[in-house]
Symmetry: none
Subunit: 419 residues, 2 copies
């Protein structure tokens, strides 16, 4: 048996100006419809009914974990996603390169994304990573940039305990002063949180000292671009305790995802990472290359998880036509080739989204998402198309999370609970 | 956005003598049917499949709380519902005014409701509330009557810990002796439970001493009515830890409910109470006044919760025609005016019950209840009527509790879990 899980980020929708249809209803999706005819549909609440999912928590839940128990924050998945080596006890952060101005009140943030800087990030990282923290010689750190202004930072204590229970220093507003990190207000007096916050504050301060006149920024200023002169840190999180999918199911899997967060969640769950040229995590991603890489990976791996981000981007941009068109591209360039090339006598596929991102709202909402399963062990339920309203009539009814365990169940890979 | 939640208590049913239809099927409900045509239906298990709900636990679950975690007993909601000031550490009781006869074995209860006494309760309460407990000067209490024989009692320890882990003294049977309250048998030797039980026993004993010859009761005896000469206490509960709906969703809501228990649950969750003339919590309630109050409240509040009790009363009375007729009144006098007066371009509504109360059984059962959502962000599912069988075909399928979070999700009010 082989298995393919495809999550189109933010796939679900509400009726739009496209003749009152959702983007998925409005899209022409002959390949998905053919899979629906052979398979079965349902509605999945990514985390649970009435719960508005983040992308990280939703993915954990769809992969079979209970995010209420295991979720420790976003930072750790960013670190995993960039390929950083996370150990128990480390504190992980999502990091932004930003633009700051020195004021008597502190560092005023004038651009949270440093003009979406697209080169020189590694040189900035190199000088910052040479810093030895004075707050404690027992704390080391590593900052690693990913795409544009994005990156991750990992704090490690050596014979000293650190804590994720601290406030962030990203003010989330342009023109505001970056606040000092402090122990969370609801944390009882805790030396670990105090020293961790102090380390964050020292790193931020040192980044500004080292970067404000760095050659990368002098060049940016000369060409009229905002400096990338400070690092902002948020999403402080501990390494979560996640039993690996391989140890649970005894199968090996690989992830194909452009976005670091999705790679990070998958790696944290024990998948291997496949790098695909042109997998950008955007609307311009190379879907055909993902299909090809997936088919090739299935020669080696038992299952492949393909994450596609463009649907969510178009949803956040509130662009119904872009979302519809991207769904049509998924159908034509990803589902079509898979449908043609995979051996359907021994392959199961699941296709769904990690949440609803309606055009009218432009952000995640609580509504359930259509889900499709097909393959030799899936009992066809008589549905003929793949979209929200047809899925509501599907034979799989409505359930919460667990799409990967259900897919693996069809593959007869599930361990028995009990005797 | 605005939101309206309506819970018709005990709405769900089973087929009845009304041509084999449920009361909801037998009722003519043009306004609910119109909402169904514009919205979507499903089945909701108030707490979970196969769980037989109480009204308090069902309401907590429908409002988005997990009653398995937060429910501490009924008494606290009775206290909240009467407007008592509950603090952490207090022990709350549902109280009954009852009729007792002195016997060598103790107080024999001859009427658990003291002939549904309808005047003089405040005078009885006043003399009881003057008692200083000899069991400990550190324990104070307050008894407050509500309607007829009903009331609530609150015990408060001052620099002394009390415990809800005690047995009740209501024998739940006429002709039986009211048992002494004791620490629960499964409680390990606990001074707090011992002193709390002793306080309950002293209050009960003192109530009989003070009330047996009280002028209120002398007058009752002269006119042949049973004395209200003892207080029975049940449902001992601690103040629950409930995060307020306002702190979770950042919206303000109000409750319109005749019954103290429903007001109590709603107040404990952070809603404000609206008093509506003629909202009795019975079959004779003024539904039009509730509709009017709700429309007016929505000028100030983000959402309104309307509780209607009559459906459950008719179910407990095993009167199918009364239940059907009351459902028709709900449709005509409550739903009709709301449908006409609310601005449906920016209002979402949810209509459901808190459990099934079938005519043949006359008490709560485990079956799921039909639920309806309508409003601009609800995707119509093709259903045309509102009742159990149509709801089973609805596009929302079946889920557990969480009706308020789902309603708020349509309003785009939900906080994101994760990033």
């Amino acid at each position: 048996m082989k298995a393919v899980l495809i999550i189109a980020d933010g796939l679900g929708g509400r009726p739009t100006d496209l003749a009152g249809k959702t983007c998925l209803e409005a899209a022409s999706t002959p390949h998905l419809d053919a899979l629906a005819s052979r398979g079965a549909l349902g509605l999945v609440d990514p985390i649970g009914p009435g719960v508005r999912p983040g992308s990280d928590t939703a993915h954990l839940s769809l992969l079979g974990y209970d995010p209420r128990r295991v979720y420790t924050g976003r930072g750790v998945f960013e670190c995993f996603g960039i390929g950083m080596d996370v150990c128990q006890g480390d504190i992980c952060f999502r990091a932004n390169l930003a633009t700051a101005e020195e004021t008597p009140d502190g560092l005023k943030i004038t651009d949270r994304r440093a003009g979406r800087i697209d080169r020189g990030q590694d040189q900035l990282a190199a000088v910052l990573n040479d810093v030895k923290l004075t707050v404690s010689p027992k704390i080391s750190f590593e900052f690693q940039p990913s795409t544009q202004h994005r990156g991750a930072l990992l704090l490690r204590g050596h014979s000293i305990r650190l804590s994720s229970q601290i406030t962030e220093n990203d003010p989330h507003a342009v023109g505001a002063v970056a606040p000092d990190s402090k122990p969370n207000p609801d944390v009882i007096e805790d030396a670990a949180a105090r020293v961790t916050a102090a380390a964050v504050n020292e790193i931020t301060k040192r980044s500004f000292e080292l970067w404000k006149d760095h050659p990368v920024n002098r060049a940016r200023m000369e060409s009229g671009k905002p400096s990338a002169n400070v690092v902002l840190l948020r999403g402080a999180s501990d390494a979560p305790h996640l039993q690996s999918l391989e140890s649970t199911y005894r199968v090996k899997g690989a992830v194909i995802a452009g976005g670091a967060l999705y790679r990070g969640v998958s790696l944290a769950c024990g998948m291997c990472q496949l790098d695909v040229d042109g997998a950008t995590g955007g609307l311009d991603t190379n879907l055909g290359a993902k299909a090809e890489a997936a088919c090739k990976a299935l020669e080696t791996y038992d299952y492949v998880f393909i994450h596609v981000k463009g649907t969510d981007n178009a949803g956040h941009d509130q662009d119904a036509e872009a979302k519809r068109d991207f769904i049509e591209r998924i159908d034509r360039e990803l589902i079509g080739p898979l449908a043609q090339q995979l051996d359907w006598s021994k392959t199961h596929i699941a296709f769904t989204g990690d949440h609803t991102t309606p055009i009218d709202f432009g952000d995640h909402t609580t509504e359930p998402v259509p889900v499709l399963f097909a393959g030799p062990n899936v009992m066809p339920d008589g549905t003929q198309e793949f979209h929200e309203r047809e899925a509501a009539r599907g034979g799989l009814c409505r359930f919460s999370g667990q799409v990967l365990p259900i897919l693996f169940g069809y593959c007869n890979w599930s361990p028995k609970f009990g005797a």
